[in-house]
């Protein structure tokens, strides 16, 4: 979708060309919903080449993130609803750094395994990149996502082709940056990133794992889609959906994530 000038209302927490706290909160909620919906699927993918807990662990973590968001939202009107209301005249818009860091620390302390530190580091590094800014342009949004992905690589020491989250995340971050550089709005750029993430996820199927517990299987890990790459695609897909919804005049409520014939 392209940004129609002036379509975003002045009271909206998320103008079409900016990613603000309401949009980030909407993303986190959308991701939690997507993980909950696909919990068993993620766990089954993990059972084939790991230890059969990825869906359960991520669902527990993202539920905790949403609970934390709700608790924070109860203290002030600025966080109320994913994209409704918006800050009233008394409230300053919340900075993005602390919001993302809260999400990261919550995941770190609730998910466990390898996914906890990896997704936790993703949000912590995004939060560091966003800092005290209250809204990000498409370019700044792409830079923050790239910082998150760099954090995942640093923490997991993985490269593309290792059959991990990085196979979905890294090409998606590159595509997001390229789209932003071409002048795409955040939603459109993120939609492109999600498409590329899906390709990266599917490309993990024939790979032999070189990191994580799956690497103990050696050749036996080939033929299975990586569960981490799958939850990473969901992360980008949730971001695209949340930003599209925040940019739309009338956001669809509780729209389900892609059906099972979508790439998983």
């Amino acid at each position: 979708m392209s940004a129609a000038p002036g379509a975003a209302g002045p009271a909206s927490g998320a103008a079409r060309d900016l990613v603000d706290a309401a949009a980030v909160a909407a993303w986190l909620r959308a991701y939690a919903a997507a993980v909950a919906e696909r919990r068993d699927e993620l766990t089954e993918l993990d059972a084939a080449i790991g230890d059969a807990d990825h869906g359960v662990n991520m669902d527990r973590g993202m539920r905790a993130v949403v609970a934390r968001l709700a608790a924070a939202g109860g203290e002030g009107p600025a966080q109320e609803g994913p994209h409704g209301g918006g800050p009233d005249e008394a409230a300053t818009p919340p900075p993005l750094g602390p919001l993302l860091k809260t999400a990261g620390m919550t995941l770190v302390s609730t998910v466990g395994g390898a996914a906890g530190p990896l997704y936790g580091t993703f949000f912590l590094e995004m939060g560091k990149a966003a800092g005290e800014r209250t809204a990000l342009t498409a370019t700044e949004w792409a830079e923050a996502v790239a910082a998150g992905v760099a954090g995942v690589q640093m923490r997991g020491r993985a490269e593309t082709g290792d059959k991990t989250m990085v196979d979905a995340l890294l090409p998606a971050a590159v595509a997001l940056g390229a789209a932003a550089a071409r002048g795409s709005a955040p939603a459109a750029a993120t939609r492109e990133a999600a498409r590329v993430a899906a390709e990266g996820m599917r490309a993990t199927i024939p790979l032999v794992a070189r990191k994580g517990r799956a690497s103990y299987l050696g050749q036996r890990s080939a033929g299975h889609q990586d569960p981490g790459a799958t939850s990473s695609w969901l992360l980008l897909e949730a971001a695209a959906r949340a930003l599209e919804a925040c940019g739309a005049a009338h956001a669809p409520q509780d729209e389900p994530m892609p059906a099972a014939d979508d790439p998983v």
Binding site: G112, A114, P117, K211, Y216
Partner: protein, 333 residues
């Protein structure tokens, strides 16, 4: 699944309640987050040792908390690594001013969670060193895998480094000693049956009545190969051959031999294994000068054992012999 539990989700919490009650006065069990500390922590001026890992390997690590061994242990959920908030809380609390050593088994989740905890602790100005134990010769060690798993050598490293810390050695020296133990140790295990994770309710893998899995990990991960069940002597030959060849241990070496039960194997069988190991090493000219036989690093109700050898010198021997006073390991105290 037949287990002495109430509800699968409550196992770790109820286990820790039991530990707190059984060892009141010696251990303090913290909740939210979970960590176990020796009652007299922090010990002023002493390097503190913190370890941790998934639950289901008892007595490791909580059972090794006490004078002469660990200052704190962080239990995760069953077979799931603990989270950085646990290690951070433990590290803060047991730091006696001389820094904290984290002893970490080489599993992807454990390593990442401990690294994150160390980052957070250093941000707070704490002095933290980490040593990753990777002694399992069943896993090919290469740049293209997660590397060797940390198994039996972890118990030996915690004991020996605990003794060194009690002597007042500085953090860098204790960490260096830990690396020495890791470098001089090799292990390999065998499973005769699978284990059953309480939340899963069924065995992690299927193993026929006449089969064994050689080179098993401590979570039921696959090993080198599945083979027809063999005699204790033949199994020991397989394990010890791989272990000895890897370091390699040579004629004239003095070693600590550790025969570890995986949880469901009786001590009687472990001593049968030990006798075979003694004979095997004797024929190779390798002298066992210290030994440990028992179930110290378990895999829930898995049947089987692992064999660990550590090449000793006078210093390591003296530190091994030093007093230790924990629920899981106790002598000289």
């Amino acid at each position: 699944m037949k287990k002495l539990i109430n509800r699968p989700d409550d196992v770790v919490r109820e286990e820790l309640a039991g530990v707190a009650l059984a060892h009141a006065g010696r251990l303090v069990v913290h909740t939210d987050p979970h960590w176990i500390a020796r009652a007299d922590a922090p010990v002023a001026g002493k390097v503190a040792l913190v370890s941790g890992g998934g639950s289901g390997h008892e007595p490791m690590h909580g059972g090794f908390v006490g004078p002469g061994m660990l200052d704190a242990a962080c239990p995760g959920e069953v077979f799931t690594s603990p989270t950085p908030d646990q290690m951070l809380a433990a590290t803060r609390a047991v730091d006696g001013g001389a820094g904290v050593l984290h002893i970490v088994k080489n599993y992807t989740g454990d390593v990442m969670n401990f690294e994150m905890a160390a980052d957070l602790a250093r941000d707070e100005g704490l002095q933290v060193e980490q040593v990753v134990i990777a002694d399992d010769v069943a896993v090919e060690d290469s740049l293209y895998t997660a590397g060797r798993r940390g198994v039996g050598a972890t118990v030996l490293a915690e004991k020996i480094c605990g003794a060194a810390a009690e002597e007042g050695r500085p953090l860098a020296a204790v960490a260096g000693l830990c690396r020495t133990v890791d470098e001089r140790s090799r292990s390999m295990g065998v499973a005769l049956t699978s284990c059953t994770v309480p939340a899963a309710g069924r065995p992690t893998f299927e193993l026929g009545e006449d089969e064994m899995e050689v080179g098993i990990g401590i979570h039921g991960e696959p090993g080198r190969e599945r083979r027809p069940l063999a005699s204790a002597t033949e199994i020991v030959e397989t394990l010890a051959t791989a272990v000895v060849a890897d370091l390699p241990f040579r004629a004239g070496d003095e070693v600590l031999a550790f025969v570890n039960g995986m949880g469901a194997t009786p001590l009687m069988e472990l001593y049968v294994v030990y006798a075979a190991l003694h004979r095997f090493l004797e024929e190779s000219g390798i002298a066992i000068t210290r030994s440990l036989v028992g179930s110290y690093m378990t895999s829930l109700d898995m049947a089987g054992c692992s064999v660990t050898l550590l090449r000793l010198d006078d210093e390591l021997t003296r530190l091994w012999d030093a007093p230790v006073d924990t629920p899981g390991l106790r002598w000289g105290a």
